[in-house]
């Protein structure tokens, strides 16, 4: 496995009224290609901020994110959008589907922005929805589906462009335990099958253990990295 993402000295500061909040404090991290990485932390630990900066949705105050040696932190917005379109996928806690569109249209939307023609994008979207067991829900609007189904649509949308990296922000936060298990298994399976790199943010230790590696964060710092891969549980304290 080779390093896909390298994070060097990443710092993010917010101003909240008079106070300056340090969301990320000089974070260093390397993410391997094809791994399932979980970022574990309580709310306010900086885990979501880290995710957003890696995805180019937020700008870092200091430091750098390199994807295969290309700096994302210095990339222009327009290029970044294209980059997201081609290489990244997103899954959110609240699904974030567009309410006016059907499941199929929602999944096809990233391809619309990519300029893929109608026939090709619906074919591809259909395929992936069928793979996720939603063949009977193609024409349904999000409001006509259960939470689990909506999240599957959202996963389909994240995977439709065959991304290199999928970011998942508390993907099971709104789901019951049974559906959560289903979704997590689905994600894990996708990672193993397609070799996509999945970076998931959660506050739930149990869910985090689905990951190949678990990174614990607190107050903008990485406090612990646990490697679950190949059964070995060699805990390593981050310096």
């Amino acid at each position: 496995m080779s390093a896909l993402i390298e994070i060097k000295g990443l710092t993010k500061k917010y101003r909240l009224g008079q106070e300056i909040i340090i969301a990320l404090d000089n974070v260093d991290l390397t993410i391997e290609e094809g791994e399932f990485l979980c970022i574990l932390g309580t709310s306010g630990s900086g885990k979501s901020t880290l995710l957003h900066i890696m995805a180019g949705l937020e700008r870092a105050t200091k430091g750098e994110v390199l994807l295969r040696g290309v700096s994302l932190t210095k990339m222009k917005e327009k290029k970044m959008a294209g980059f997201r379109r081609k290489y990244l996928g997103f899954i959110f806690q609240s699904y974030n589907l567009i309410p006016s569109m059907t499941a199929l249209e929602n999944v096809a939307l990233p391809l619309v922005f990519d300029g893929v023609n109608k026939k090709a994008r619906f074919k591809r979207s259909c395929e992936i929805l069928v793979q996720l067991g939603l063949q009977h829900r193609l024409k349904n609007k999000p409001t006509e589906m259960s939470g689990g189904q909506q999240q599957r649509v959202s996963i389909a949308r994240a995977l439709v462009n065959n991304p290199k990296i999928v970011f998942a922000d508390e993907p099971t936060g709104n789901l019951d335990s049974k559906t959560t298990e289903e979704i997590m298994k689905l994600l894990k399976e996708k990672v193993n099958k397609t070799g996509v790199t999945l970076i998931m943010v959660t506050h739930d230790l149990e869910l985090a253990n689905y990951g190949d590696r678990v990174i614990s964060m607190r107050d903008g710092k990485i406090t612990k990295i646990v490697n679950n891969k190949e059964g070995c549980r060699d805990e390593k304290k981050a310096e």
Partner: protein, 466 residues
Amino acid sequence: MNKLDLLKLARQNLWRRKLRTILTVLGVLIGTTSIVVMLSLGIGLRESQRKSMESWGSLTMIRVQQGMAFDNEGNPLGEAKRLNDEAVAEIKAIEGVIAVSPAYDVGGEARLGRKRGGLQLIGIDPEVMDQLEFKAEQGRLLKKGDRNVIVVGSQVIYQFHDESERRKMERGMMMYEDPRSRQQKDPAEMLDQRLSMIMQNGPEKKKNYNFMVVGILEGERNEHSYQAYAPIDDIKKMRDFTRGGSTQRGIGGSGREAVLLARSGKTVAAKKGSSSRDTANDYSFILVRTGKVEQTREVSKTIKDKGYNCWSMADSLEGIEKTSRTVQAVLGGIGAITLLVAALGITNTMIMSIYERTKEIGIMKVIGATFTDIHTLFLAEAGMIGFIGGLFGLGLSYGVSKIINHLFQNYLNRGMPAEEMMSISLIPSWLALFALLFSVVIGLVAGLYPAHRAVRLSPIRAIRNE
């Protein structure tokens, strides 16, 4: 992003909020309609005025009359100049003038076979008649060397009536211009007929002047229609006879001389002394023809500046055009205000839409929409509102315009022949195109700010879990 997809997406977004979109479109529709209808009224007004003026007389003709010239406030401009050979030469020398003819007019009773009628006869220089915008419908115009021939307007024949008709008219059984008698008469009947004009000098002295009709003039409703034209020398003789032989005094030059002088364009220094004392031989008026419609006003102004009193259709048209431009500006302004309000409506709608769709915009950004995509999407939505409003507004405008024309039809065009029907509201194709384009531009401009706002939305804040 594909353009077609973009438009589809924009349409889909608009259709989601049907009522709101329809109401906003309605605003643009009303705005466009009011602007188009208002402008169409102004255009219709100007067109119908131009048309009626053109039908009454040529826009390249100027008539120099006796008397003083006055400026717009009614103050006399210099002394009244006499219409003599000097004047003809002076006017001939003005740049832009291509033909000048002095003219005498006489009126009286005339006979045409067994019929009698009143006739106004104008003597002009036969040689320049074809240059003075006269056109013969039948026969020919006057030409050089003509004597005792006459060219008549197309309506002259209706002024002649035989005994039975006259009796009927006296008893009130027939209108002076009875449509039935109209049908029985053809202007061409007059061609090659002998027409005699009876001139009187005192109660007992009468003299007949005979003319051969050689041509019928074109046009039923212009200034020539009810008049007849003959060579100026013939008319001068008739005029001298009625005035008790003013020729005997032999001052002021004959019509023929005037014609020669006008043609040569020379000044008449030799005659100056005598002609300034006696006005008896002054011409009734002088006809001037300019090369182009645009020159007419200028020439007319020059003639006025020289102290002559002149009149041209173009002058009147200028005043009317000025008025109708003002009317148009006022009406257009009212329409523009309506459209401005509609534009505010579009902006308002789009801003509301952004509030509603904040999350959606965030999602689109996250999944790879560029700033340009978002910007274009919102502009497309605003432009679409403008376009649809403009399109339907234009349709409505045509309807309203038709209704207006229909309502005023009887009032405006009573008894007019079909080809001279006037429209009070006129929508030329450039106006239709302009309206459509304008409403789209208004939509786009109204959408600029909302689109800018949508672009600036932070995707993180937009999708933040509630």
